[in-house]
């Protein structure tokens, strides 16, 4: 790699961000999914790019460094007992099959009033980033509305659109697209 051949790395200051601590920030009680707390300490680096001065015209107030931000993800668990439901291409209306599945989900959620459900709306890659995020919101919203109509307490439900940003299948074919057009249910107590 051309950029690694340069002396840029010679001036690196290595900063370590120990992300192992994040396991303590995760929700303590999780229904089915194992925690993915195999986060290794993450080594990242910064350099003193742009720290030039120019003696020809007097000194300039340069010398800033780009540094990393160190936020830690507070993620929802990845899976639960509630199966995904799927959508037709470019649609957010619920199919008959989806309604039947959601009927079962509604019963389960009502039987577990101490859980909170994040409804994730996902899309296939055959759309733009921004519009897919809006479409994913519509999908999650259609599911949320349906569950509330089936008697689920609205306070147990939250929604988020992932657009095409987190496909479950990274292939580029009809089968993958069909799997990726989905509403996913993440659960925490």
């Amino acid at each position: 790699m051309r950029r690694h051949g340069l002396t840029f790395h010679g001036s690196l200051v290595i900063a370590f961000f120990v992300l192992a601590a994040c396991s303590t920030r995760r929700p303590p009680a999780i229904l089915t999914a194992p925690t993915t707390s195999d986060t290794p300490p993450d080594a990242t680096s910064k350099s003193d790019d742009a720290s030039w001065n120019e003696s020809g015209e007097g000194f300039l107030p340069i010398g800033d460094e780009l540094t990393n931000t160190t936020d830690i993800e507070e993620s929802w668990p990845e899976s639960g007992p509630l199966a995904d439901i799927h959508f037709d291409f470019d649609q957010y209306t619920l199919t008959d099959l989806s309604r039947a599945i959601l009927e079962g989900h509604a019963g389960w959620i009502k039987a577990h009033p101490d859980t909170r459900i994040m409804i994730e709306g996902h899309c296939d890659e055959r759309g733009t980033v921004e519009y897919n995020l809006a479409l994913g919101d519509r999908r999650a919203g259609a599911v949320l509305d349906y569950l509330v109509r089936r008697g689920v307490e609205a306070g147990q439900l939250t929604k988020a659109s992932y657009g095409k940003e987190r496909p479950v299948d990274s292939e580029h074919n009809e089968e993958a697209w069909a799997r990726n057009r989905r509403a996913h249910f993440a659960i925490r107590r």
Partner: protein
């Protein structure tokens, strides 16, 4: 009186007299009125060790590439450069350069002392023999590219042109994903793809970055708290905080875009249930809903004046680009070609009133530009797989976007005509959603 004033000036800037020779206004006038033909011979090291030779080579490469990038200057061909007899870099024989029709001769020298690298650049205007720029750049030894970018920027300023040599591009990358844990983190690279730096470290999804026009902060969407929220990263301070606003934590925010003066940020949000365009102060406070159609409204971007906003809406049945003023009034449809247009980005140069966007053509997405005067559409990409997320360079002469060829999404750069389209190597993994940063303040 004038003597005292100039003596004062000289004592305030003692080094200025030493290296900067005054330029004649008439010479400058000549320069702007014609296309310049540059000669950029190899940088000449002071001292003979490998480190300074390497730095010199790098700086020559960067200088040449930066000036070539804009596609508006002419250059003396390499075989003519090498035909010039060995020269004294401090006193070049301008007759030699005149004989190969060089108009601007760029002499560069490099020196390393300890850990410090210095680059000296002298611009000779060959027809009159004047030195129109003489400047010394000092920095760390490991940093020759930054010095050369700065010099290239200054050289272009001498011929009345605003280059983008020192600009950076931010984008989302999946390179830090691990098995079973897909992530997107934000990275910043120089505009030529070198010098990648990671900005976010949270193993979540961080997407849709947008530079604040002062170049010191980047707004973006992060899923680190579960629901996608609006964040602002102060990139020189290593700080990132949510600017979603306290009352709106359960609502999603997408596609932030700073106004040209940096005082406001537009975004899409479902705060009132439906996805609409909102405008808030730069810190997220005082948010106001600008659109309220029952359709999807998203992907806002500002006109260079800050008085209008282009956005995507499917209120006409399919996603199309629309324009409104910054109060949400005078809404009109811009795109009429194709049934799926999204992600508008307004050319920041007032010389080029046009909007780049993503358009679906025969099942693939391509980058297109619509001229706001004539409504003519030109297609920038073709046959490069699927491309989206265009963003203009700050001088409006190039676009960066992301294309998927085969299995991989790569950043790609095109000039504004689409004649030259090239993949930008920014490192491993897939690269998405680039946003081209501003020209840094001096």
């Amino acid at each position: 009186m004038a003597l005292i004033a100039s003596a004062l000036l000289l004592s305030m800037f003692p080094s200025r007299r030493a290296v900067t020779q005054p330029s004649q206004p008439d010479a400058r006038f000549d320069i702007v009125t014609q296309i310049q033909r540059f000669a950029i011979p190899d940088c000449v090291p002071r001292g003979g060790d490998d480190a300074v030779r390497d730095a010199c080579n790098t700086m020559t490469t960067v200088l040449r590439r930066d000036l070539r990038f804009e596609g508006i200057f002419q250059f003396v061909p390499d075989n003519l450069l090498t035909a010039i007899p060995a020269m004294n870099p401090d006193a070049p024989n301008l007759d030699d350069w005149k004989s190969i029709a060089a108009q601007i001769l760029v002499i560069s020298r490099a020196e390393i002392k300890g850990k410090d690298l210095a680059l000296e650049v002298k611009l000779h205007y060959v027809p009159t023999g004047q030195v129109i720029l003489s400047r010394r750049y000092a920095g760390k030894e490991g940093n020759p590219r930054a010095l050369a970018h700065q010099a290239a920027d200054d050289i272009m300023k001498q011929v009345q042109f605003q280059g983008v040599s020192r600009t950076k591009i931010v984008f989302a990358s999946d390179r830090d994903s691990s098995k079973g844990h897909p992530t997107k983190e934000l990275y910043i690279v120089d505009y030529d793809g070198f010098n990648p730096r990671r900005l976010t470290v949270n193993r979540s999804l961080n997407i849709l970055p947008n530079w604040r026009p002062d170049g010191r902060a980047i707004s973006y969407v992060s899923y680190r708290q579960g629901i996608p929220g609006l964040f602002l990263a102060a990139i020189y301070e290593g700080r990132s905080q949510t600017i979603t606003g306290d009352g709106y934590r359960s609502a999603q925010v997408f596609a932030p875009s700073f106004s040209p003066d940096g005082s406001r940020v537009a975004f899409a949000s479902n705060r009132k249930s439906n996805m609409d365009i909102w405008v808030a102060n730069a810190d997220g406070s005082g948010a106001r809903q600008i659109t309220s159609s029952p359709a999807i409204d998203t992907a806002p971007c500002w006109s260079p004046t800050g008085q209008e906003i282009a956005f995507t809406s499917d209120r006409g049945g399919t996603p199309q680009i629309w324009i409104m003023d910054d109060e949400g009034l005078n809404v009109r449809r811009l795109t009429n070609v194709g049934n799926y247009n999204d992600a508008p980005n307004w050319n920041p140069s007032k010389q080029h009133p046009e909007i780049a966007y993503t358009s679906r053509l025969e099942g693939r997405f391509e980058i297109a530009v619509v001229d706001l005067g004539t409504s003519q559409v030109r297609q920038i990409t073709a046959g490069r797989g699927s491309c989206e997320s265009p963003s203009w360079a700050p001088n409006g002469r190039h676009l960066v976007f992301s294309c998927r060829r085969g299995r991989r999404w790569s950043l790609t750069i095109a000039d504004r005509t689409g004649a030259r389209v090239e993949t930008l190597d920014v490192g491993p993994g897939n690269s998405y959603q680039p946003d081209w940063g501003p020209v840094p303040a001096r």
